[in-house]
Amino acid sequence: MNTEKVYIIGNGVAGVNTAINLRRLSNVPICMVSDEADFFFSRTAIMYIFMGQMRLEDTQPYENNFWVKNKIELKNAKVSKVDPEKKVIFFSDGGFDSYSKLVIATGSIPMQLPIENSSLKGISNLYHLQDLEKLSETYSNIKEAVIIGGGLIGIELAEMLVSKGIKVTFLIRESYFWSNIISSREGELIETQIQKHGIKIHFETEAKQFISNEKAEVISVETSKNEMIFAQYVGITIGVKPNINFDISSLELNKGILVNENLETNLPDIYAAGDCAELRQVANGRRAIEAVWYTAKAMGESLGKTLSGNKTTYLQGNWFNSAKFFDLEYQTYGIVPAICSDSQDEFYFEKDDKMIRFVFDKISKEFIGVNTWGIRLRQDFFERILDTKKDIIFTIDKIEMAFFDPEFYPKYGKEIKETFKKLML
């Protein structure tokens, strides 16, 4: 068959943005395949479904008829195999079709603990819709829960469980929260938030084994410090890894699917985007796999153009990210290290549970990045600062332009300048 058809495996943010951007430029038939959900939804929002703040349909960014209107075919199926030579995609129900171009946007899967018994009832991840459904069915029987791993999903899971009145204990391998990303001083802010919501944290503690009852349900966790913590639910949130669990012969893999700067794999007409893609070449300070919403979206945008015939390089751009820890909003612009290197210096502004951490070059004073906690800052401002390589003195001098908090909120410009002046003297 010679008919053109672009197949996209996965209907998450990378796949969807590929499809939408391709459709804008081309009329080629597009088919998106997923066995998780019929329609694209915002994965980051599933916690709000559990908490009754939204329904699944509210987390879907496009109306259901959007896909018909834009002639993007949706297929609920699991891909079992791809034959890259004959360009055929096989589904687990026995069906198959030929593709002209194939995009792999299968996202991530949660990492598992190397502990026996990890498959006991009540031990779960929180990643897929199916995890959410399972938790929604069982939460009423849970009084105590243990969450292993202190990342973003762990915090979200904690917030969900606490909203149902469940007692939560965190087991964190490191000595403070999110220690590979932020400084210990910033970690304390998160810790305060967590404790304010009645959650216990055990730092430098891992799970040693899970104890079950006769029904193979988890009842408690034994920690590396030989403590027993009762739990009818254990959430494992120790991170995610690329979902590359499929059969495509001779596709080059490392941790993820290896792609070049055009998101092309080693096989002709097969591309990868989003969490599952691993860049062969990485911009300075960036990682080869960046499993965040924004990266997946940006990859989808550039890949959509490439597929339309207009080969477009995926540019990593300035790093930015955001998150929310209970009531504490976090935004970051530029590459802020957890601990400053010898050539870097930092400056903290702290006030009423709020914090901004600026990192800059010790000698040239060039602005490197900022983490902000509880104070909303404008992305455009820092993009401009980073693009034009401004120094920290300039940045602080213009900081009033950066505030993005609602009207009538306190403005910290003056205080930031004063604090900075004192420090620099």
Partner: protein
């Protein structure tokens, strides 16, 4: 703790019932039972709010709204909708059921007589009863809103403003002005009540009352005109229509406070948006036709400074100025169907106005002004704004009237779209498409559709309540008036 507060809640509800029973069995005086009823309702609302939100964290403010029967269009929601609708039907069309009688009130309305007399020097009307309960709701649920969004200063300031305008400008001051000027016929003394929300401002009986109302009457007439042509466009230019809709207006006040638990029920589909645009602008056209007809026949019947012909010429001037402005200054801001509709409607208006100007035809739009007036009063003034607008809070969300029906909102929205500096800005590419903003938009705007593209939100329906910005977990949205000054 929760149980204890619930006991307190029951205590206040019992007090309220006690007040009613005592009054009807003639054991308590009317004023004492009224005080008991009003105070206990107020504290019941406030204590309920305290138990829920006093120590709640910001991110938990909207937990469970889709799980609770009252706020997810469930059984309780439907019961509430029927009750509210019934209440409005009685107030508008069967006030005697509440005890309202021209020759001396009885029953529920009579309970308000002495309070009414103290404020305005007359016995209570059903509208006084309604106004009292309305104000009570805004104050009680206003406290609830203040507690719920205690960490957000924009919400605090805005809600205090709504409560202030309702209590003083809509309720107390007009009543007291009435008492101080007992010889005057009734006219609206609420200085924030603007045409066309106040659709009867230019009706003959109201104009007569204003013109016979000495200084006070003239003040309200001139102020009314200033509001329409100067004050509101200027404020809307600087701050968007929110200065009125979510800071001042009484309908907005009730929607924001008592209606807050239903804001997520507004329909976000593009289909609903389409229907909204047709209906709200249809209502606006209806009120304009009605007003022109009524004023024209008033001027024909009364010798005034303004001659009927001059009035028609002014109207023609306004229509032409409007058409020219839209055509030359805001072509690119409007959709094609909007431009087409504006052109057609303006032309028809012009033809009618010119025809009357040259023939002396009494009914400008070939329908009797009085008929138009009574249709508007019935279908829009009562049925739409009251029965559907508030009665259907638990079904269509809290801003049904503001979104689909309010001609005031249509005018301010048009100004917002065409020349205001107000818009909601998106913080770069930080949107994660979670949908909290769209879900909580009471006007049914799909905020996320703009935010995820990194676009500013400039929609005529946006009332600037700021809840989208409040619920955004990534700090992506901000209500802004001025230029963003990144100048390096």
């Amino acid at each position: 703790m929760i149980l204890k507060i619930n006991k307190i809640l029951w205590f206040f509800l019992s007090l309220c019932i006690l007040g009613c029973v005592g009054y009807f069995l003639e054991l308590l005086t009317a004023s004492f039972s009224l005080a008991l009823v009003l105070v206990s309702i107020f504290f019941a609302i406030v204590f309920q709010a305290f138990s829920k939100f006093y120590s709640s964290s910001a991110s938990a403010a909207n937990e469970n709204i889709w799980f609770q029967s009252i706020s997810n269009k469930g059984f309780l929601g439907k019961v509430l909708a029927v009750a509210l609708t019934g209440f409005y039907v009685i107030i508008y069309w069967y006030p005697h059921l509440l005890g309202y009688k021209k020759d001396g009130n009885t029953g529920f309305v009579a309970m308000f007589d002495s309070f009414s007399f103290a404020l305005n020097g007359h016995v209570a009307s059903q509208w006084f009863v309604y106004g009292t309960l309305y104000t009570l709701c805004i104050l009680g649920f206003g406290v609830r809103f203040l507690l719920k969004y205690k960490h957000n200063r924009y919400q605090q300031v805005r809600t205090l403003s709504l409560m202030f305008f309702q209590l003083f400008f809509a309720f107390l001051i007009p009543e007291i002005l009435t008492k101080l000027n007992p010889e005057l016929d009734y006219f609206s003394k609420d200085i924030k009540n603007m045409w066309p929300l106040n659709y009867y401002l230019f009706e003959d009986w109201h104009l007569k009352a204003l013109l016979n109302g000495h200084t006070l009457g003239y003040f309200f007439l001139i102020w009314g005109l200033l509001l329409i042509f100067i004050v509101s466009p200027v404020l809307t230019y600087f701050y968007g229509k929110r200065w009125y809709c979510s800071w001042v207006c009484g309908c907005g006040g009730l929607a924001e406070t008592a209606g807050d638990s239903f804001r997520h029920l507004s329909d976000k589909s593009t289909k609903a948006w389409k229907i909204e645009r047709y209906i709200i602008h249809g209502v606006l056209l209806f009120v304009i036709l009605t007003t022109i007809s009524v004023v024209y026949s008033f001027l024909l019947d009364n010798q005034l400074l303004l001659s009927p012909a001059l009035f028609l010429i002014i109207c023609i001037g306004l229509v032409v100025a409007f058409g020219v402005y839209v055509w030359f200054f805001s072509k690119e801001k409007l959709a094609n169907d909007a431009k087409k509709s504006i052109a057609i409607v303006s032309l028809i208006l012009l033809v009618c106005l010119l025809f009357s100007l040259f023939t002396g035809n009494r009914s400008v739009f070939f329908i009797d002004g009085n008929a138009l007036k009574s249709w508007y009063g019935f279908y829009i003034g009562a049925a739409f704004s009251g029965v559907i607008g508030v009665g259907f809070y638990p079904i269509f969300g809290s801003r049904v009237w503001c979104r689909f029906g309010c001609p005031m909102a249509a005018i301010l929205g048009f100004q917002q779209k065409i020349f205001s500096r107000f818009r909601i800005t998106t913080n770069g590419s930080q949107c994660i498409s979670c949908g909290n903003c769209s879900t909580s938009c009471e006007m049914g705007i799909d905020v996320r559709a703009y935010a995820q593209k990194g676009e500013d939100i400039v929609r005529s329906s946006c009332v600037g309540c700021g809840i989208c910005s409040e619920v955004c977990p990534r700090g992506v949205l901000k209500l802004e008036n001025g230029k963003i000054g990144i100048d390096f």
